[in-house]
């Protein structure tokens, strides 16, 4: 079978539904608009307005904050879980079972998984009831739900898997004899972890980071749902402009966001060769 024919379906989907939409967004970002219509043109006002607005910078700062904290927690938790699965669970059978337990929620709805926090974190939710019962707090905590805390929690809840899978993959590829060699030379568990395992897991961590950073940077739905509209993110700001039918402004936002995300990913990509890691 010839190769052109084999890649044709993939290529056409990507050209039609990835490349073309990006091209049209790029074009529209230079258009002018009124309240009612889009005017094909070549103006830089959409970009100038974005760069001149202080809101842009605070929104980006907030989004970076989410991305950084989300990344920090997912990498710590993901690494710890992977480490347990790869080096402390002894049989392949149990490794697979426990791994699947972590994976299954990924195949269910993100929206539902966010909604599911309402009865847990809400004002009259389980967490508040429990803390009140225990006498830890005098009145219900308001910041558990509809807050930045809730947003980060949801990110960790939704995206730890994206960190766990590539790190676990890296760990499973580590040749056990390397670890034995380190042991024979007198290294303790901690030294092996720091000097052998972590360096060999860096590609996995990098891949996980690419996933988590790009998912959080482009997110709008988690921020909207979990902050109750009280916090901002770049994606959310974009979606709000879109809802006001300011398509060119939203498009300019999208192009800047795309450049930021691709820039971050490009830096991470330099450290790894993804095709070799699979």
């Amino acid at each position: 079978m010839n190769i052109q024919l084999q890649i044709l379906p993939l290529l056409s989907v990507l050209v039609l539904f990835l490349v073309a939409p990006v091209v049209i967004i790029l074009a529209v970002s230079f258009w002018d608009y009124t309240e009612f219509s889009l005017i094909p043109d070549f103006v830089l006002t959409n970009y100038i307005e974005i760069f001149e607005s202080g809101v842009t910078y605070s929104t980006y700062l907030n989004t970076f904050k989410f991305a950084f904290l989300g990344w920090l927690f997912t990498v710590i938790i993901g690494f710890t879980l992977a480490y347990f699965l790869a080096f402390h669970v002894r049989t392949l059978r149990w490794q697979i079972i426990l791994f699947l337990i972590c994976t299954i929620p990924f195949w269910t709805s993100n929206i539902i998984r966010m909604i599911a926090w309402i009865p847990v974190l809400g004002r009259n939710g389980l967490m508040n009831s429990l803390l009140l019962e225990l006498g830890v707090i005098g009145e219900p905590l308001e910041w558990l739900l509809y807050s930045d805390f809730a947003v980060i929690l949801a990110f960790v809840h939704l995206y730890t898997l994206f960190m766990l899978v590539p790190i676990f993959n890296s760990m499973m590829r580590i040749d056990k004899s390397i670890i034995e060699a380190a042991q024979d030379m007198g290294a303790n568990s901690l030294q092996i972890l720091i000097n052998v395992i972590i360096p060999l897991c860096l590609p996995g961590i990098a891949i996980g980071t690419i996933f988590v950073i790009s998912l959080i940077m482009g997110d709008f739905i988690t921020v909207q749902a979990m902050s109750g509209g009280q916090s901002a993110s770049v994606g959310l700001a974009m979606n709000n402009k879109r809802a006001l039918l300011q398509y060119p402004a939203a498009a300019a936002d999208a192009i800047i966001l795309l450049c930021v995300v691709l820039g971050m990913v490009a830096i991470l990509m330099r450290t790894i060769n993804i095709r070799k890691e699979l």
């Binding site: 079978m1 084999q6 890649i7 379906p9 993939l10 290529l11 989907v13 990507l14 539904f17 990835l18 073309a20 939409p21 990006v22 049209i24 967004i25 529209v28 710890t80 879980l81 347990f84 699965l85 402390h88 972590c102 299954i104 929620p105 195949w107 269910t108 709805s109 929206i111 539902i112 998984r113 909604i115 599911a116 926090w117 009865p119 847990v120 809400g122 939710g125 389980l126 809840h157 730890t160 670890i179 042991q183 568990s189 690419i210 996933f211 790009s214 482009g218 739905i221 994606g235 974009m238 879109r242 398509y247 939203a250 498009a251 999208a254 966001l257 795309l258 691709l262 993804i274 699979l278």
Partner: protein, 281 residues
């Protein structure tokens, strides 16, 4: 850590793992329980009786939006996306086993499809159809939007599969005179079948639950996740949880079916894949 006896570190890590699993599933079980609230129950605990009242509310037309319509649309779309993802990923995955011009560019283009912000993509597809004067539908623009999300996963899995695939099976078949088609049908597919079911599982579930990339791309008729999200602001009864329970049940069923098929295929592989010790037949 690598000695025969379990150390304290094992138990600490095991406890951490259990805690994480609790964190992962706890909220889900909270809404599953709450969806069985009595008719006078509210959105939070305690349970005020036990009933299937909120499930029957779901099926009463117009009460909570277009639940039935969006449900069947989402199921159909997920099924189409599943089949398309398997076929397209397999086909492209096979192509990538050989070197070809621009293979790296195509690979990175596929990866960008994964990391591109969903809101940008859905906006772009919406604008594209609008500008071309086409009306977007869930089965055209929506389908394309979902494929941009499922195909990268499918292709990555195919890479992982083919990186571990022993080419000598195919060579042996060719040496025995098998045509390309026979190699695919009788050698390749039986061996990688279970992985293809995995690709299908990704295709179906990711599409069934996709919100962000559906938002502006599915046209005037909502898919289920959009409908559910709309409900979060308008519905303040446990109906919302009932819907969550029902969709989660659908997802779990699909996962269970896929796992079942994978186990069966693996067993068949073991049974038919090895005739060592049977002598000449």
């Amino acid at each position: 850590m690598f000695s025969k006896n379990r150390k304290t570190s094992f138990y600490i890590l095991a406890a951490f793992f259990c805690l994480f699993v609790f964190f992962l599933y706890g909220p889900m079980f909270a809404i599953i329980t709450l969806s069985f609230q009595g008719p006078n129950g509210g959105l939070t605990f305690p349970m005020n009786g036990f009933s299937t009242h909120w499930f029957s509310k779901l099926f009463q037309e117009q009460r909570v939006g277009d639940f039935k319509g969006s449900f069947s649309r989402s199921l159909t779309l997920a099924f189409i996306v599943m089949v398309a993802t398997v076929v397209i990923s397999l086909s492209a995955g096979m192509a990538f086993r050989k070197k070809f011009k621009f293979s790296n560019s195509l690979f990175y283009l596929t990866i960008s499809s994964l990391i591109i912000p969903s809101i940008l993509l859905t906006l772009g597809i919406g604008l594209l159809f609008d500008r071309l004067g086409l009306e977007g539908h869930w089965y055209t623009s929506g389908l394309g939007a979902h494929l941009t999300w499922t195909l990268p996963f499918g292709l990555l899995i195919m890479f992982a599969v083919f990186n571990r695939f022993d080419k000598s099976y195919e060579e042996a078949a060719r040496d025995l005179g098998a045509t390309n088609w026979q190699v695919l049908r009788f050698v390749l597919l039986p061996i990688i079948g279970p992985s293809l079911v995995g690709v299908g599982l990704f295709g179906f579930t990711l599409s069934f639950d996709e919100f962000a990339r559906s938002l502006l791309s599915v046209g005037s008729k909502n898919t289920l996740p959009l409908e559910i999200f709309g409900m979060t602001t308008t519905v303040t009864t446990p109906t919302l949880y009932a819907l969550g329970t029902l969709t989660t049940f659908v997802s779990f069923s699909i996962i269970a079916i896929c796992f079942g098929v994978i186990v069966i295929l693996e067993k068949r592989k073991k049974k038919f894949g090895d005739d060592s010790g049977k002598g000449l037949i």
